[in-house]
Structures are given as structure tokens and as C-alpha cells.
């Protein structure tokens, strides 16, 4: 059904436009402003052209943070997506148990991000945490404060703990839309479990799965609070991801120019991925 064209609908979106312009466009313009200027303090600025962009694009520090970020996002996706599908396939389909599973699984998603960090910071400590204590008791030398590998492992397990349920819940919603008749047909054809998954469940889940992949990629790409609370970006710079590095630069060292240029590049990357996301979502909507 085609929607009627009516340009007066603009009046309805006007409040959103004004509000988001105030909270997004004005701040972004400040960033643009800083990114092309330099200062010696005293609020005196002079034109610096693309100098900061060059500096940021050539900076080893930013490259290293970007590398860590991409590695982190890749590991997160490689674990959470298959695990989420697996969990969704094992969830009860209806009734009280299904509701209970939904609610318990959503619990980590509702915890403030710094409390997620705190939970794992405490949980992993060798002296007072169950995880750290147990690992120490069975003779594993585990210390997320000093050992980069342990720090990474802790943050990855934390993120899996925090967000796998999101993937599982989205896949579960996709599975719920499959009519029972499909399964009955598969049973008559004596399809194997793998066949049912490959030819019935996976195609039906593909839409939500794309959303899940993109959402997880975006959110892991801008992760800040959780690793900041657990490791503060350390040991050294081992867990300094893009957002942590940016905040260090902008608010810690007050390097406005480079931080602004960094922000804009970061934002352009996000914009690009958002566009892919949007295209996928709207394409899906128009097909059925």
C-alpha cells in the first residue's frame, strides 16, 4: 500500500528536527570548527587547514587503537553471533519457561554499563572474586590488571556475558515467526536436524541476524564504559579502544584539534556503516 504524499507532515517532524539539531548539529559544528584550527591558549585560534587530519591519519597511536578496535569487534562478532543463534535454537518455544528465559536473559542488558564493568572487575579479582579465586585455586596464573592477555580475555568474556542475549533474543524473535507447518513438512520429508536449520531456520532468521550483526558491530565499535571501568585501558595501552583513546585525548589532555579531527574521522566511519545498516533494513521492509 503506497503512502500518500503530504508535505505538511513536516510540521509533525519539526520538534524532533529542532531537538536533534540542538543536541547533534551544533555540537558537531564545534567539532568541525576545532578540527581545522590551532591555538596557543587564551582562546586565540588560527587556521590550520587539514593539518590535524593528516596528523591523526598518520599517528601510530590512532592506528594502534584502530587495530585493537577492529580485532576486538571481530572477536566479539565471531563469538556472540554463533553462540546467540545456538542459544536461540535451544530456548523453549512458549509457555512459562519461555517467558522466564526471556526475562532472565534480558537482565544483563538492563544493567548500567559501569556496573557491568564493576561486576566483572570484582568477579575477576583473585582476592575477592569468584572467577579469579577459582582460577587461582586450580593453578592458573590469572591477573587482568597486569597481563594484557588476561585483560583481553576478561573484557571479551564480559562483553559476551553482556550482549550475547541481544543476539539470542533477536534470533528467537525470528524463529517465532516460523509456522509449525514448516516443521511438520520437514518431518514428513525426514529432514535432518542440520537440514531443518540450514533450509528453514537460517533463512527465516537472516533478516534479524543482519540487524544483530550490525548492532553488535556498531556498539562494540564504540565501547567505552565497560573496559574503562575494568582495566582503564591498560595494562599499558593494551585495551585502549577508539572511544577510550578519544576521551583521553579530548578531555584528559585537552588536545582539541587532533581530538576533533579524530572525532570526525570516527564519525564518518560510523556514518558509512549506518548507511549499510539503513539500506539493509529498508530493503528488508519493502520485500514482503
Amino acid at each position: 500500500m503506497e503512502k500518500p504524499v503530504n508535505n505538511r507532515a513536516w510540521f509533525l517532524v519539526l520538534p524532533v528536527l529542532v531537538l536533534v539539531a540542538f543536541s547533534a548539529v551544533i555540537p558537531l559544528m564545534t567539532v568541525v570548527n576545532y578540527s581545522v584550527q590551532d591555538t596557543f591558549g587564551n582562546n586565540e585560534f588560527f587556521w590550520n587547514g587539514i593539518g590535524w587530519f593528516k596528523e591523526v591519519l598518520e599517528s601510530d597511536r590512532v592506528h594502534a587503537a584502530l587495530g585493537r578496535q577492529l580485532l576486538f569487534s571481530a572477536i566479539i562478532l565471531a563469538i556472540e553471533i554463533p553462540l546467540g543463534i545456538f542459544i536461540a535454537l535451544n530456548m523453549p518455544r512458549r509457555g512459562f519457561w519461555a517467558s522466564l528465559c526471556l526475562v532472565l536473559m534480558a537482565l544483563p542488558l538492563l544493567i548500567p554499563w559501569n556496573v557491568v564493568g564493576t561486576i566483572w572487575q570484582v568477579f575477576g579479582r583473585v582476592d575477592i572474586g569468584l572467577l579469579g579465586h577459582t582460577l587461582a585455586a586450580i593453578g592458573i596464573d590469572y591477573n587482568y590488571v597486569n597481563d594484557p592477555v588476561d585483560a583481553w580475555a576478561t573484557i571479551i568474556v564480559m562483553d559476551v556475558w553482556h550482549w550475547t542475549s541481544l543476539v539470542a533474543l533477536l534470533c528467537y524473535a525470528g524463529l517465532q515467526s516460523i509456522p509449525d507447518a514448516y516443521y511438520q513438512a520437514a518431518r514428513i520429508d525426514q529432514a535432518s536436524r542440520w537440514g531443518v536449520f540450514r533450509f528453514i531456520e537460517l533463512p527465516k532468521m537472516s533478516g534479524v541476524l543482519l540487524i544483530a550483526v550490525l548492532l553488535r558491530f556498531m556498539d562494540s565499535f564504540m565501547i567505552y564504559t565497560e573496559p574503562f571501568v575494568v582495566t582503564g585501558g591498560g595494562p599499558g595501552n593494551a585495551t585502549t579502544f577508539l572511544s577510550i583513546d578519544l576521551v583521553k585525548m579530548a578531555i584528559g589532555q585537552f588536545d582539541l584539534g587532533p581530538a576533533a579531527a579524530f572525532s570526525l574521522i570516527y564519525f564518518l566511519v560510523i556514518l558509512l556503516i549506518s548507511w549499510v545498516f539503513y539500506t539493509v533494513m529498508t530493503a528488508q521492509r519493502e520485500v514482503p
Binding site: 507532515a9 532472565l104 544483563p108
Partner: protein
Amino acid sequence: MAAARDGRGWGPAIVMTIYLLFLLVPIYWLVNMSFKTNAEITGAVSLWPMNPTLDNYRVILTDPSWYMGYVNSLTYVVMNTVISLAVALPAAYAFSRYRFLGDRHLFFWLLTNRMAPPAVFALPFFQLYSAVGLFDTHVAVALAHCLFNVPLAVWILEGFMSGVPREIDETAYVDGYSFPRFFVRIFMPLIASGIGVAAFFCFMFSWVELLLSRTLTSVNAKPIAATMTRTVSASGLDWGVLAAAGVLTIVPGALVIWFVRNYIAKGFGLGRV
């Protein structure tokens, strides 16, 4: 259990049990700690409190510098939810019912704000709100969180509204309803569950966010989450109180999650599931 009926055996039940244990044990550990004294926490690792105490909760509920954190957080979260819904409702209606000049671009632009890294906005927000004299007020945080909550609310509401047949609108107009009266009297009750879900997700995403709320506040509007981080770095010792504060931040979400359980996927999937 459903497993038996599906002919799937006990495998799924075992998988789910293991997964839920993985999710709940770290939370249990926090709850466990919140009922212990500091001496017991640092003394020996025990699976449950030997001498359960409510002292940690008493500290939080009697010390203004602690409990005001909750009041501040709740204040700006509620403000944000109200603002987000108020502006998102008409906009979502426009997107779901009409085509207009630049609608797709606008919809996409909203999405980019939901996806924008808060780290990019932390410093400009700080300067903007300082410049207009709103620094360290609840309004500043509420407005800042609109950055990602308004798009979210528009997307979720648009999803729900598109499920309502357009004939209803047309019939109402034929019956002589004006737009505002139709919207409030007829349309909003029809999408009541959608409004509830959108409100829940605005509330939640504002509640869990720390970076912006911490950057924009210092004393008067300091959120509970920021109060907690300060305590860790300053003393690093008061684990019991820290755990109790953490547990109290989980409570609001846990209380209402049952009511939105069937829409969780829709909310997290930006209304597109």
C-alpha cells in the same frame, strides 16, 4: 516442559541452564557481596554471606551523597523519557503515514545519531551546555540523552504505528475528528503498548549511559553511576557499599522487565523485528 513436546529431549534444557548460570552467577556474586561486611569480603571467599548484614544498604539509604545520586539519575531519566516521547510521537506518525520531501534522508539522519559514539559528543556537549549555563543540571543530561533516545523512540513507535491499519485514521477524519483529538483519543490508545515499550527503552538507555551523564555533571546532578566510579578510585576499599549500590541500580530494570518481555527483541532491534 516444552522440550519434551517438541521431541527435542533434555539437551535444550541443559544448554539453557548452563547459559543462564553463566549470566546469573556474576550478578549473584555482586548481590552476595552486598550483604557482607568488608572484613568478610576481603577475609575469605565464601559462596554466601556468613553473617548477613544490611549495613551497606543502610549507608546508601541514609547518606545524601549516595542516595541523591539515585534521585538525580531518576530525575534526568524521567525528563528524558517524557521529552523523547513527546517529540517522537508526532514524528513517528508522520513517518508511518505519509511520504514527504526528504523523509528517507531524515529517517537515516536520525539513525546516525543513535549510532553516534557518545565519546565524539562528550567534549562539544560539555562546552555547549557550559556556554548556555546548563552545566550540572538535570536538563542538560536529559537533552544530551535525546541524542540517541529520540531516534530510538521514533524507530520503535514507527514500527508499532505501521501495524495499525490506515483505514482507522480515515474513518476518524470522516467522522469529523480533528487531528489532535483523533491522535490523543483514538490513536494513542491503539498503540498504548508501543508507547509503553518506547518509554521503557528510553528509560533504560538513559539509565545505563555513563559517559555523557558524567561529563555533563559535577555535583548537583551527579548520577549514581558516577558516584560509584569515584568511590572505587578514591578508596578502593569499600567493596560492600559499592556492591550494594550496584545492586540498587539493577533493581529498576529488573522490576519492569516482566511487563515488556514479549517486546524486548523489538526494542533492542530498533523496532524492526
